[in-house]
Symmetry: D2
């Protein structure tokens, strides 16, 4: 297998998400980092890129320069990851898609529903891959849950109870710290605080596992720290288009939770339970039966097997989950290059349509909260026909 | 200490709740069972009572006979537990209170808000003790949570996230089994199914721990098994009168949960986490600190110390929690007998006012669900002034 | 059912074990406490007994007075619990057995092997019941483990890995505190410290579950706190007479353990795991299969069913486990009174023979440790034929 | 930072350990794989190497060819990983060290103590780095335990209780499967089965954390599956040179364990508990205090901070732990290249001396087991002076 080439926009020195992407992309040796515009300050970005081993002529000062430099190279990058501030995702992603370059965009894909519709349409029109980094669905046992639901182990799903909670923003005395304040400031974060930041991951996971999409929702937003304009705690009830009810709680003031991304799924024939903090075990209870512990590595689906690298009993962790998104993209890119169909189980990465659905759900949750929890349509305008 | 005398109505042979009360009342040797009307069939009840060691003249055929028999005895029972079908609680409890006999009533205290107001008023007027068996608050570590909140360890409480879920009613093929069907039949269960059956315990626990009461709420009810007229799954958001938000989920179709009564409380200065299935450990995370495990037996409050019998590391369990309600009642009854003030930390058992608040909250949740989650006043009419 | 009568020697006001026995005996209403010699100081003991509701003429000053008073009464006690200091167990137990009164003796049954042989022979000769309080085997799920082994679920058992560890004696600065010092003083505690105090419970549990007895053992004793003459930490390897190897670790300096009594059993066809701190769940892994969680209350053996009182999902705890020993004894006493065979699954309480085996194992472990871990016969002299 | 170059011997297509090394070495982008002799069949190895992106002239047929090819290149590899069958480790490692090429050798470093002494001496003499892959000590929280012990948080350590158990070899019907049979065949596995395979990791971890080395030991070996010539279960008691007692259990027939590598450390001032299956939490109990949960990412030592990549609450896993060994080696190699002292906290990787101590401990455990557990010197001959 010859390596694919990969570039990154954003994720400069000192950023949190930058190394996560670089490790995840490198982990299986599928992608080699060959281009980058890593920093808001051009010279810092070029310098950092060179130190990461990128050739000087592909260490760009900004994304426009990078687009210009890559677009017409015969060996242009196979994939670009967009990890810039949220408000810039739309413009950059759209530009690369228009150039026919595959994109993995950090979430949120855009700020507005209209932009999201545009990205989804652009991806459809250009044929370029547009993936969005709801990376937690890369965990082998999350994929196994989806497979179990899809093959009918649970029967019809009735309920999914999901949570994404942490307490990292609970300190009122630290609320003005710029590191966290921006997340609750509409000017910088957009319409929603904690729901857009974390809760949406939980909703995407529920959709992913259940194979259903949000139809309407009712939300309750709270700013536990009163100075915050946006919510730091939210409860959202969702009716999915397949009939499942999702109960979603998210909080950033839940002292004692640490990235507590949990999902429970209850169907006619059994229930599932999984938590991101201990991702290597999945609990499955068949109806009227005993809870069983499914260890990563012994999960009996091709989806889980494909996403797993090491033996049962060792822990794999989040970087491997994110690497699975990259591995999926590598397979699809290669298949296109070879003019063959990709492995179908590599096609479960989140796409522009998932990004669009997520933005629409955020918009709906904000509107519902403003109207005392009134039930609100959560479907993208372009997808309301169904 | 001379023993107190105790009687029971309902809880006949084969009932689930009967032995729980008998064990709990006997556990500390504080009460001796001396009277009973245990069964809907008089002769069966008398026979069973005699076999339990009750003197033949106090083995009654029904509650009216028992009231008549006990009311004027000089050695009449110190306390009667009412564990009959829900619809009869009001009449029986009221009659015994009017006779000046102390009552521990199983939940729900009554069916309607009006009846509940009447019981609360009757208890106030007669001076007889009227307790209601929200017994889960008898756990030492639940009492310790309340003490921690009261003494300010958490600062102002912001959120309580509570849950009472199980999957015992998840089997659609068994939904017509009379053992469970009645709970979802308005004719037998009243206004609400799972919320009234289990969820209300979680709300009472949140109130107990936070020291606040429900002011208004918004609810979403689902019948996951479509044939059910009443809900088997509910989500309720509550604003408490002290400003805390409660997020409450309850379900009887959550396959893999087994009496999952859990509470998490998040305040300005820290968070607490406790689960009924492992009641001997409480998790406490101070703001910006590490999670600590508080073992029952080493909790540093007089409330916890009073409620604890055996050394740290052994498990105590639910019967001991319920026994704490009886122990509290014994102390209060004795104090009255001796003309002294009771130990103040023995006064945390749930009362007729708690029963009234619970019935009102159920009524409000039913109304809110019927109006698509509209926010609804959850305060008893008689307590809306404050 | 008419109640049985019960007396107690030792367990006076302020003792730890006294209330455990009183609660356990009372819990099911099977025994009524009707006689007692509760304290080393006669008047204190008489006073305390009267306050516990014992009739004045049966509130005795010491055990000899109690034996004299009870022996010839037509309504003499059905059972006496001996909870006095260890060195007195032999004399008291022997005297009551000789009088034909059934005894439940706290562990250790005696100090020496010779005394233990004598008690076992006396019980055999007189026909009186002699039980020894290895009460942890009263847990429903421990009984279920035994049943699973006995019915062949595990196939031939290969290994049992057991542990009884705590850290309550880890503080060197507190080592001279009389409350703990006596346990490591040969003059007061006998031959062994932590192994005799706690470890022996773990060995008894392994025997109970596996249905095998110790044949020989090799031990390593350590006094982690150097001033102690007896061990505060011990590792013992045991070959059982059925071929199973037991690996037993016990410690009183294991800071962070709290009565950590754990057992794992590994057989040809599966493995079991149970911990006293969370006694309501048993983990079972069939060979080449998934770990399953067996909840107390849904364990499918008559042994577990008999020992269980409340529904799955609630916790029962140690007092209920100990109550099961009393419930067994009640059944056997009643059966004898009625001239019928007792329910066979009520016959799993630990007997004088278990007491004898335990004392012999302690003796062997002490000898082995003194000889650098040399393998040592652990069988009682009277039982070496097999 | 310019990348270092790395080669691998063994770890061909289909091997388990090969991808673990390739991912771990690549994870931080510190090493680029530039040479390899990956398979016992030269052509398969060359082909696989080329497919992994290695230049054809450095895709070697065997290790001798690789040594010849690399030894005199100006751009020869900075590090070679030896992941061949155990019996070949000595010869290969020695040859590369003699050429001055740094080696990371899979465990066991050699088969005999004499060979291990030779490797340790060769590394000392040549100055080349010789690391041995006891990779589990790369976990951030294992390093934090070591730091806590070193800085005195526990006071004097008294005991370490360690375990490495699994049940993957428990099926007697599958015992002749070549995949597992070789591990219990002296001709292929050497002197010891499960202790050498897994147990020695636990001993190394105890040494690493406590900062002490084995002085003498007593062992009990069992072949639970009788046809095995070597042990599949072992208990080893160890006295460390600093006075700590280690209690080590290892098993491959422990059905229900899955790579259960656990360590508990008990000192004068507190206790620690960690398990490989949930590597992101460390439990710390100060003497007379409450158990605290130390989350990876918030552990307050530079050792833990250096070894951690992502935020608290996400899981990192084994590949990251192994990557830490590579990161340490990269730092030391670079420091040597730059003529500066390496970061001292990068010097905790296991060395040839650790490899030597491990081989000696295995030898001692085998001898002790053969002599009924007699205490046996566990120090390498060259290190007995102390």
């Amino acid at each position: 297998m010859t390596g694919l080439t990969w570039g990154m926009i954003g994720g400069g020195e000192g950023s949190q998400i930058g190394p996560v992407h670089r490790i995840s992309a490198a982990l299986d040796g599928l992608f080699t980092m060959t281009a980058g515009a890593l920093d808001i300050e051009p010279e810092k970005g070029r310098d950092f890129a060179r130190r990461l081993g990128i050739a000087p002529d592909r260490a760009y000062g900004d994304w426009r320069e990078m687009l210009a430099g890559e677009r017409d190279r015969p060996d242009r990058i196979d994939l670009v990851t967009v990890a810039t501030p949220n408000a810039t995702h739309y413009e950059i992603t759209k530009a690369f898609l228009e150039a026919g370059i595959n994109v993995l965009c950090e979430k949120p894909m855009t700020v507005t529903v209209e932009e999201a519709e545009d990205i989804a349409a652009t991806a459809r029109r250009t044929g370029a891959i547009c993936a969005v980094n709801y990376g937690y669905t890369g965990y082998p046992l999350v994929r196994h849950m989806r497979a179990m639901v899809a093959r009918g182990d649970l029967g019809k799903v009735r309920l999914a109870v999901v949570e994404f909670s942490h307490g990292f923003h609970a300190d009122a005395a630290d609320a003005d710290n710029p590191r966290m304040r921006w997340r609750y400031d509409p000017a910088l974060a957009g319409l929603s605080g904690q729901f857009a930041d974390c809760g949406i991951h939980a909703l995407h996971m529920a959709s992913f596992v259940c194979g259903e999409n949000a139809r309407e929702l009712s939300s309750d937003f709270v700013s536990a720290i009163a100075s915050r304009k946006l919510e730091d705690d939210a409860m959202v009830n969702v009716r999915m288009d397949g009939g499942t009810t999702v109960r979603l709680w998210t909080s950033s003031v839940a002292v004692g939770s640490f990235h507590g991304l949990n999902i429970r799924v209850f169907g006619e024939k059994g229930g599932l339970r999984w938590a991101q903090q201990w991702p290597d075990q999945l609990h499955w209870t068949p109806l009227n039966g005993r809870t069983e512990v499914i260890e990563r590595g012994s999960a009996d689906s091709p989806e889980a097997a494909r996403a797993t690298r090491i033996a049962t009993g060792h822990s794999e962790g989040m970087l491997v989950a994110f690497a699975n998104i990259y591995a999926d993209l590598a397979e699809v890119i290669r298949a296109r290059g070879a003019g063959r169909a990709p492995d179908p189980i590599a096609c479960h990465y989140p796409t522009a349509v998932d990004g669009l659905r997520s933005i629409t759900a955020i918009r709906a949750a904000v509107d519902s909260a403003a109207r005392s929890g009134a039930w609100t349509d959560a479907r993208p305008p372009s997808l309301r026909a169904g």
